[in-house]
Amino acid sequence: MIKMKEITKFYSSGFVKTFVLRNIDLDVAEGEFLTIMGPSGAGKSTLLHIIGMLDSPSSGEYFFYDKPVHRLSERQLSDLHKNHIGFVFQSYHLIDDLTVYENLETPLLYKKVKGSERKGKIAEMLDRFNMVAKKDLFPNQLSGGQQQKVAVARAIIINPRLILADEPTGNLNTKEGTEVMDLLKELNESGTTIIQVTHSEKNAEYGKKIINLLDGWIVEE
């Protein structure tokens, strides 16, 4: 499903090039649960962003379902986002001005899902996460764990084939963290590909394969 060849990413200021990723080769098959680990500054988040098409590599090739991502237009990229990829961030990144309900609605609106269908999907999601009572609250009225649950719900409401999670439990306590990881495991078992970035050994155990990054290189396990 994902094929990356010699992916490199650097930032240049003046004459100095700071390399964040060097020569990354990566293959991910459908249905995998991959964990990317490494110390701070190793380039994990950058790699995740590139996989998720939120950023582009400085050089190298990236094929997503055999489509050459590095050559797609912005329009085509956002199409892929809408339909296939769900993102879960460490700091949730919910839209503060929208209620829980509206936050869940937003990706569906971008996908141009019809009104009644939208309502149905959102209701289902709220129910699944036990958040029906909170649907009209704003993010700043929820706890960290609840916000992350909403974020996960938002990520999966479009039935993506791939979920990218960047330190999903970083801001949660143990109980909340476990809840979220269990959710991800469940999704993986029903066929969704999951790639997560984490520091936590415990979280890594949920996955089947681990990749270690150090100073931009893959040091495989």
Binding site: S45, T46, H49, G52, L54, D55, S56, E74, R75, S78, D79, H81, K82, N83, F87, F89, H93, L94, I95, D96, D97, L98, E102, E105, T106, P107, L109, Y110, K111, R154, I158
Partner: protein, 802 residues
Amino acid sequence: MFKNYIKIAARNLVKKKIFSFINIFGLAIAIAFCILIFLFVRDEMTHDSFHQNADRLYRVNVLTKEDDGSMEAHAMTPPPLGPAFKQEFPEILHMARFKKRGDVVLYQGQSSRESIALADPDFFKMFSFRLIKGDPFTVLEDRSSVVMREEVAKRYFGNEDPIGKVLSIKMGWRFYDFVVAGIAEDIPQNSSVTFDFIVSFDRVRDYTPENLLNQWLGLTTLTFIELQQDARETELENKFPPFVQKHLGESIKKYRAGDMSAFRFELQPIKDIYLNAQLRSSYVAGSNPVYSYILAGIALLILIIAAINYMNLAIARSAMRLREIGVRKVLGADRKKLMNQFFGESLFFSFISLCMGIAVAELFLPAFNNFTNKKLAIGYFSDWTTPVSIVGLMIIVTVLSGSYPAFFLSGFRPAQVLRSQLKLGGKSKFSQWLVVVQFTLSIFLIISTLIMTRQLNYLRNRDLGIQGEQVVIIPTQGSPLGTQLVTRFRNELAGHGNILGVTGSCMVLGNDSTHVISVVRTTESKIMANYFFIDQDFLKTLDLEIVEGRDFSREFPSDPKESVIVNETLVKEMGWNSAVGKQIRTFMGRREPLTIVGIAKDFHFESLHTQIKPAIFYIEPRNPAEFIYVKISPDNIPGSLGILEKTWKKSAPNFPFMYSFLDEEFHKLYRMEERWQNIIRNTSIFAIVISCLGLFGLSALAIARRTKEIGIRKVLGASVAGITRMVSMEFIKLVVFANIIAWPLGYYAMKRWLRGFAFRIDINVWIFLLAAVLAAAVALLTVGFQAVKAAASSPVESLRYE
């Protein structure tokens, strides 16, 4: 989807009340301004277009060749022209001559001075002045009919039916009875042709001798024509030269040495009359298209300033919205969708600002009308231009204020913003330039205001060379007593301590519609001069100095008819060293020349726009005095006025007592300038207020951005003053820079404006410094207040939330 955007915009608005208020208020004011200016300009540009036949209506103008070879245009035409035109040119469907005179109307014992118009019967067929009562086709055919304007009729008859009532109107020397035969609807605001009373043109015979009515050399009436459907203006004009030859050939041979190009007729479309009114004596207070352009320019300026504010604040606020943008992109929004969102928000704001702006415009409309001397109204559906313009305005504002955020912010990569690698918040070059532009405009306007105010004060206070404050001018209004009134006043008031002098004249100094300009000849040369017909006491009463020779005096019985006094400028223009004893001829065709007996010191009898012109003072006993000048002492002016009124009523009981003060006549000359000074001053206040609103918002954001930095500096030992200075500097230096651009602009613009005055002030450096200091002070207040607050807050607070 759109609903979503509106929801967010609305919630944003409530959350950030201050910023929202700044944005909306600034835009609303700008919109209100634009609406008012739009009404003004539209009125100016559509004058006289409401007539149904407007495209076929023309005024006939006369062009005469002046002594220096140039052609001068006159709106007035000879009386026999109209009927001759109608008779000889089949292209003309209707013709109406039109003239106005002021005279007395008597009804039920009350007399008042009114403006009486005379017009040919075709008048109401040509012009769309609707008659509420009376038949437009016949109402002016009866010599004893009078048509009144609705409002005027109400004044005289209240709610009674005016038709059939009899008014006594003075035409010339006598009163005649007129029957009210028609009532006209009130005349639209933008009509050049106005009237209160109209009688048949034929009544001109009441006060004009027959030979004058038939002569082709006097330019005494307006002539309007309506062309046939298929007639063409240029084709008709081509027929004019043979017409001139036929009717004026003899006179031209006699007076112009046969030069046929000395006299020409021309057709002017009625829609062009108002804005091209530089013609002599046309009854129309014309206007200049320049005013409309300038005002439109100003409105655009203000709009730009307000839109800049919105842009600035939207950009600065975007620091907090970058995350949202990133998230939306992750969720599948492409750039177009984000741009739509931002335009949607700015549309939302624009709509609210529009509503508020309309409300503000309505609020200020009465004052604006007062100011521009018009009766404007926002007729929301009266014609298509209004709603279209309002919607257009909203769209312009939406685009102007939403475009930068829409284009700039939607272009970010999600990764950049999610990692907060971008720092926005008022420090971008674009925002800084916008502030500079705003303050440049504001400073420019302040400079203009200061200079205009100084010039106006100069005009008003400059020593005109005559005593004006307490000279009362009383028009004799054609009373048959004429000059005798002056004598009567002088005799009756001789004993009163507060009456310091009485004299008479045919002219009102300062009011050039009463002046006569004509030629003064000697055997060697001739020049144009202002003629003043006065009596022996005139120069004395007005304290005008004689620098050579003597004043008129009753001890010299030959003074009337044989002596003249001239002013210094006339002497200079003639090229003389001394003039006493020299002889000149006037335009009045006398056989014997007149002798100059004295030279008067130059004084201003016209506005300070022009240099002092040559003037000649003459006692012409055949011209009855039209104005009595009474000099009164400054003590107890109301008492003196009372005495004057009593004396008047004794001498001329059938005529209303009217008066004005001489210095007011001069002040009237500067009314236009006063208006403009007001406009510029108010505009500069607006501009500064809006600029400060913007600065307030920006500085608040900048300070918020630097909260952590301020906290750290305090911990390291910085003082409140030091921090305040550091924070304010960021903005004050922008204001200082704005001065550099504004000063040359202001200087150039004001220099051009001042060129319109023959007498003007010098532009001093301190004016620019004052403007700079004002702008800086205001900016400092705006920014400083917040800076001090931030600098004084405890570092613990600012460093608490990482």
